[in-house]
Amino acid sequence: MSELSPNAKKVIEDHIGRYPSKQAVTLPALHVVQEETGCVSNKAMKEIADILGLSPAQIHDTMSFYGFFRTEEDPVGKVRVWICRSLPCMLRGGEELLAELCERWGIQPGGTTADGQITLELAECLGACDGAPCMLLNDELSLRVDADEVEKQARGNG
């Protein structure tokens, strides 16, 4: 049984022609698997390596550099909420917002709510400083949010 979905395999194959080296498909491959399964399992890592003609260790080396990708022991919930804590957001309540969400959901940054719905992450500058404090929900930015707004979007999504 293959760990990679037919769609993931297709995405990976489609990317190969775009670069002069197959290794360059590592990030696109990790992204599609992370998006589909909430993590990149060891088996998926090995299958990506096989398609790209690499050692699984090379995939792991790249994957572990970017805190973005999760292992199978630590998958993300249905939605992933990132709260920015860098200076422009910190000056406008970003850290308090993050702390409030931690208390409200009973988790620490990086953790997932008990119902598996929301993974809360701290983020360094999300590039939406004109709307501080801001959040990223999956990959969509929302500007000028408070805890109620974050909760509403996180519960209403996924």
Binding site: P88, E96, A123, C129, N138, D139
Partner: protein, 444 residues
Amino acid sequence: MSNTEFKPVLLGRVGRPNSQTLESYRADGGYQALAKALSMANTDVIEVVKSSGLRGRGGAGFPTGLKWTFLPKDVNGPIYLCINGDESEPGTFNNRVLIEEDPHQVLEGIVISSFATRATTAYFYLRYEYGRCYRVLKKAIDEMYANNLLGKNILGSNYSLDIHLHRGACAYICGEETGLIESLEGKRAWPRIKPPFPAIEGAFRRPTVVNNVETMACIPHILQKGPEWFMSMGVAKDPNNPRDAGSYGPKLYCISGHVNKPGLVELPMGISARDLIDKHAGGVWKGRKAKAVVPGGISMGFMTEKELDTPLDFNGPGRVGCLGLGTAAVIVIDDQTSMVDVLYNACRFFAHESCGQCTPCREGTAWSTKILERIRAGHGKLSDIDLLLEISNSIGTIPGSTICGLADGAAWPIKTAINKFRPEFEEYITSGRKSESRLLAGAH
């Protein structure tokens, strides 16, 4: 030209209905600059950009046309253009707005620049967090392929180009050009030792140019309106300084922090920080005064209230001890905010984002954060202040202890905060006060 008369160029189409579509871009004269460029010799396009005085908008301010001339004359095989859309410097969001609102302006600049540099493939490296940008760009690129603006024989010429979008994975270091290249190649984003510079050996070990998004947005305007138009704006080069390349053209200034109206403003380069805050950002919020202002992203360090008349051109911030203009992202800190908290935030950012390759950076950023944690917990010692300074003087490319400039960016907030606000640090430590902000256990 006074600032009040200035009509935005790069943001000229922002906010118009359907500003993202090819149809509306063309109705506003879009892609005429590309047609013009394709009728010229590629070396003449480089000459136009070179003579405009355009300097890269990503932070380092290197002259764009000059960078292009570093490509070898005779090349067998591909040349690559990489677009640095990994905008992650705290306070910076101009690329996001440019892409979300007017993607074709950026893409036209990319095609012209690729033609000029003889690149046949362009990789647009976009930070993962900009999901909306990704979808807007994808649609715009599809429109271009369908209308002979990308692919084979663009607009009937014998020039062909492909653009591929490549998403990052939330790592600040990918904004460093060789870190970006390593990341593009599917590796950890560890910056390379230079030389060789990317122009000689870059992506996939081929000659490569890496350019910023805002830089690309300037290119079609320079082609259409001419280098003299570009040089009619900004601050002329100092005739007594042969190394000064001047600060020409329009510039996007991001304003965030404690102002009434945070946002993005386009102005001729060289406005003072004070005018930017008072005239374009509604002043400091809550009737307060500014205590400190970051001139161009947190890496550049801090200016004091007294230094706010400094012009925000390529030279101004450096004259008051900052690292440079950086990304022209201005962050305003009011007089009720503790500089200890602000510096802690900056140090924590760099500790989180150091790639770990060079020991002075990895350890220096981590220890400066720990020292500030100790001070904020009420256990600081006065000697910690000089220890922080010693760390800041030891890390980076300026002392020569690291491969890339991330650590210089980590050092400058420390140097400027302590040199300019030392009594505040001393008072914080001697009073035994603790930070009022809520510390998160386990939040690293």
